[in-house]
Symmetry: C2
Subunit: 327 residues, 2 copies
Amino acid sequence: MIRVGILGYGNLGKGIECAVKNNPDMELKAVFTRRNPEDVKILTEGVNVYHVDDAVSKKDEIDVLILCGGSATDLPKQTQEYAKYFTVVDSFDTHARIPEHFANVDKSAKENGNVAIISCGWDPGMFSLNRLYANAILPGGNDYTFWGKGVSQGHSDAIRRVEGVKNGKQYTIPVQAALDAVRNGENPELTTRQKHLRECFVVAEEGADKAKIEAEIKNMPNYFADYDTTVHFITEEELQRDHAGIPHGGFVFRTGKTGWNQENSHVIEYSLKLDSNPEFTASVIAAYARAAVKMQKEGMSGCKTVFDIAPAYLTHLSGEEIREHLL
Amino acid sequence: MIRVGILGYGNLGKGIECAVKNNPDMELKAVFTRRNPEDVKILTEGVNVYHVDDAVSKKDEIDVLILCGGSATDLPKQTQEYAKYFTVVDSFDTHARIPEHFANVDKSAKENGNVAIISCGWDPGMFSLNRLYANAILPGGNDYTFWGKGVSQGHSDAIRRVEGVKNGKQYTIPVQAALDAVRNGENPELTTRQKHLRECFVVAEEGADKAKIEAEIKNMPNYFADYDTTVHFITEEELQRDHAGIPHGGFVFRTGKTGWNQENSHVIEYSLKLDSNPEFTASVIAAYARAAVKMQKEGMSGCKTVFDIAPAYLTHLSGEEIREHLL
């Protein structure tokens, strides 16, 4: 059994807990939190919640520690720190800072003989993998990534910061005409507006000026101004009833040509339709946590991404089994 | 530059030749044939065609030899034989015999310190990879593979063996309703008939009994009897004009649930739409040929499949570049 520790018990941490339950070769060993451990109620019976300060003292009881903090301030510190003591996996997703994060974690993991997998999930993660495979197969082609339909936390937060807004949720939606054009091999050049729509469900405070709220959202630079945005005003009750989930998903395409005179076209498409963004992310992380433990046992060390890990490491099945049943 | 040799110059061999042209870090070094080399005209200027008996004598001029023979009788002998002298890649696709082929090639490749990649292409190959990744992420889910729309050589051959048939081509077509049900997460149980249609374009010999031909095709056991099959009679001219291509493609799905009570559903979909089956297969093989050469240089040896190869080996880009641009 792979003994899993979770550091940080928010949506992602809970998702890891569920993924551990769904993987027969894994068991949850401990949850670490910055809150008062007594205030954190987890789902798994018989597993203790500890303060994060006690994590290192439990290192011999844990095969892999999954870091479920945020990319903005938590993971840049946590992953390199805990890679000193544990095999670790994180879901660091600030694309621009990945090279720096990789270098820091690699140093710490190598010096301490540990495997650390960073930027694991679906984007970065499964989408990245599909970009890499498809780029290697069709050099000289075009890449397209679409996100949604799904909830963007960042855009939902932005709505909630508008004056007069009590609550709100934002869905990112790929434009169907753009998807169709890419799928037909038309290799369109797409503007930001042509790729995604933004749909907002807003609960206004009593007496607030809805027209003003709508205008402020639609004209918000960076978040909404470059998109076709629709705003629906609903009640708090409707928001809780119809928009409580955290669905997401998206599409990765690569289109390219082959043949002596580039006469044949090809379309590679990978897509995800997810009821729960954090639970699916957690499921990807669980598979890579298994990989991390296997690689650590083989004596590897250092920082790895999904690009560096042979697919066979992800499964509990043997080489014989996967060649017989999945190849 | 990676120096590529091609053994066998049919559709796949030609596809490899084109893929080499499209990959800036590869050059074609030689083509080996069982035919009289003087009768084999290739597209690349300045590259020699040799008889297959001369292949081993050229081993120091070639970094990777791509075996483009058939899975029925060629590859079971060729891959283990040439793995003694070369880094090799094949596209062995007889699923049931993969374990045996793997064992034979592994022994020969290990004894001679070479890397040999088998069963490379899109199915087995990219489809297998997607089955493995998705199985690792969603344990306890359901797999679905659909093929087409595309030309099945085996079924086209079967048509051509029917009495009174001069020529013919068969398309395998996934049933749209089945695709939709899977995509909607309905987890349908599908019969053979519910998954694929078969569409045949047949050129009858003069005076042949078309009704008899149609009945014989539709009732042919294994090939057509279990499917809804349509038969169109066309002229040889129409067949050459409208059905000369070798398109193919397909869909790999995995659906599964997450959450403490399995309350959230997820759909992972990978699909290919290919104008040329052999050229796309060749493009996958070219990427894995690069991987084979890199792995050989690192001192690895033995038989590998797509499951055993970290994605980063497939690209000519550095780890820094792929982390920065594709992760």
